[in-house]
Symmetry: C2
Subunit: 367 residues, 2 copies
């Protein structure tokens, strides 16, 4: 029996449960609360910032992986020092955990980035604002997700409070035509697998829709994204799934926006859309098992997030949408909360997207 320990009990851990069962692995989850999304496999409930809690959870597993990037790096290093297999490892994770480190290392490696700088003072911000058109992005280096810790800035004073907490990452407002994401899986032995790049649409800084593959008049962008994703996974020695969020600029370049070293919202579409889902592939990769095919099962797959509530009572309204698949994260309703997603597949992208949106709308409760 291969035993996999997942730190974090969110929907990413939850969506690993099904594939783990089919592959014959035992999945154990260290969850934050009793009612976590992955509560079915939560063998421990405790604080992932507490070394003893994490060490005790990790001692009987074959490999440790993550539902999120917020585990303190000293804890991850302590696990590795104790001889525990942690995938991705601490060195790779450090790049995903701190956006300033990420920018520095990707720049050293020569990967295409937006114009960026580190601000320590309001004067730094003012200077960067002036050099970049008076409108920039500020990012807290650590702890952000789903649009939290990111702000559009037109006046240095807006960043004052953040600067009290330490350096802030500044970036140009990229003139992009759309956002893409490149998913890559990589094994400890170096084998990689890439899915076709997806197009992502955000609403209020949060991923709302994903189209697999990214619609393209030619294959050049898909090919560029695959090469870039594979190279970053290899450069950073990532194990497991890596999501590279990308800007496609109006002049035809790709710039790296963010990295996530785990299954990612942009990859949920692979559950139905691909021969191997990101969740199965992540488990195969961290167990150093041959990777699965990333071929598509359908010409088009479209995922739409469900925010707010996904209550079972609404399932009865689904009669007209028998080909759209539901994924319920088992979370309490809350306005704006990601509580599930739906995926449609088909041969026409416009029709496929409209079917997925119609079902998501059924669940998009007015709470």
């Amino acid at each position: 029996m291969r035993v996999i320990g997942v730190i974090g009990g969110g929907q990413l851990a939850r969506m690993m449960i099904g594939p783990a069962i089919e592959l014959g692995f035992e999945l154990r989850v260290l969850a934050e609360t009793n009612d976590s999304s992955a509560r079915d496999r939560a063998t421990t409930v405790g604080d992932f910032r507490d070394l003893d809690t994490v060490r005790s959870f990790a001692q009987d597993v074959d490999v440790i992986t993550f539902d999120h990037e917020h585990v303190p790096s000293d804890i991850i290093v302590a696990l590795e020092d104790a001889g525990i297999a942690v995938r991705p490892g601490s060195a790779a994770l450090a790049v995903a955990q701190d956006k300033i480190v990420m920018r520095r290392i990707l720049e050293e490696l020569g990967h295409p980035l937006p114009v960026w700088a580190v601000a320590e003072t309001e004067a730094d911000v003012a200077g960067f604002l002036e050099a970049n058109g008076g409108r920039i992005i500020a990012k807290a280096p650590r702890g952000g997700y789903d649009g939290k810790g990111v702000a559009v800035v037109t006046d240095a004073a807006q960043v004052a409070e953040w600067l009290d907490g330490g350096p802030v990452l500044l970036e140009e407002m990229v003139d992009f035509s759309r956002e893409l994401a490149q998913l890559v899986a990589r094994r400890p032995n170096g084998e990689t697998a890439v899915w076709p790049a997806v197009e992502t649409t955000q609403a209020n800084g949060v991923c709302a829709e994903v189209i697999l593959p990214a619609p393209s008049t030619d294959g050049r962008i898909i090919e560029m994204a695959a090469v870039l994703g594979r190279q970053i996974a290899t450069d950073l020695n990532v194990t497991g799934v890596l999501a590279v969020e990308l800007f496609e600029t109006t002049d035809g370049r790709l710039l790296v926006n963010e990295l996530a070293m785990r299954p990612h919202n942009s990859g949920h579409v692979t559950i139905e859309g691909s021969v191997t889902s990101q969740f199965e592939q992540h488990l195969r990769a961290i167990c150093d098992m041959p990777l699965g095919s990333t071929g598509s099962r359908h010409p088009w797959s479209v995922m739409v997030n469900v925010f707010g509530a996904m209550d079972l009572g609404r399932y009865s309204r689904l009669t007209q949408s028998s080909d759209v698949k539901l994924h319920n994260y088992g979370k309490e309703p809350r306005p704006g909360r990601k509580v599930g997603h739906v995926t449609a597949t088909g041969t026409d992208v416009v029709d496929t997207a409209s079917r997925a949106r119609a079902v998501a709308e059924i669940f998009h409760a007015d709470i």
Copy 2:
């Protein structure tokens, strides 16, 4: 939270776990042993023949369903009398639990059957043998599965021991060109959904391979099977998934071989092959939720059972088969035991089958 109780902890219950999680249902399993295939959700370990055990398991669930057909009918009736929703219900299940009852009722309903009779004495057997070419099939009416309780008979004395236990079902040796299975799902409100009929191949009386859809020179057989399956599900008031095992005779007729009122080995191929798998559909049906599309995701899908052992150590040999999906039932190895299955999908049936067989062969341990 919708709570589903499954009686029986085999691989069918196991393969319901993933879909239940994605739909947001809570699945609970009454398993026979601590190391059952569905142990991850085994909230009770006990004897399904003990009324108190079953009643206690059932009292807090919204609906009871089954991993097998061996629960005594008086227990099922007792649950219904206590107001518990049992799907399929006792009246339908009675037809699947006793092969003589099944033959009687299907004959009354006018469905096409092999020539059959009930034997109570060796003289009955001898008479049926003489009338049917000297070579017949004898079946124990209850408790058989996977070829157990079925025998080819050429001499009445072969059945003597079975007759001591009660009446035995006798059937002609059907002159069939191949075996098919028709899967149907039906909700309490009467809505049905049929997948395309599959072709099944048995080895030593046990399902070995399944092809979706059943290869056919014309669509007539597929259409006949769908009509028949839908009619039987409706006639018997089945709720959940029904598998109708069929003979296609050399003269182009379909005859009903067996019925199973639950997800069935012939439907495992729907996990990858269909928009909605039999396991998801069974849960939707018993929860009286609109049924999902039974459309195919690929032109061809082929499932091959793995017998004996499916150990994780062999996963490293899968490099050349990245598009074949593994399903490991988490069972201890034993010669001839169904321990898992693999499914390949593709555009050419010969190629697809050969890929699935090659992977199954990797796991087919010499134990």
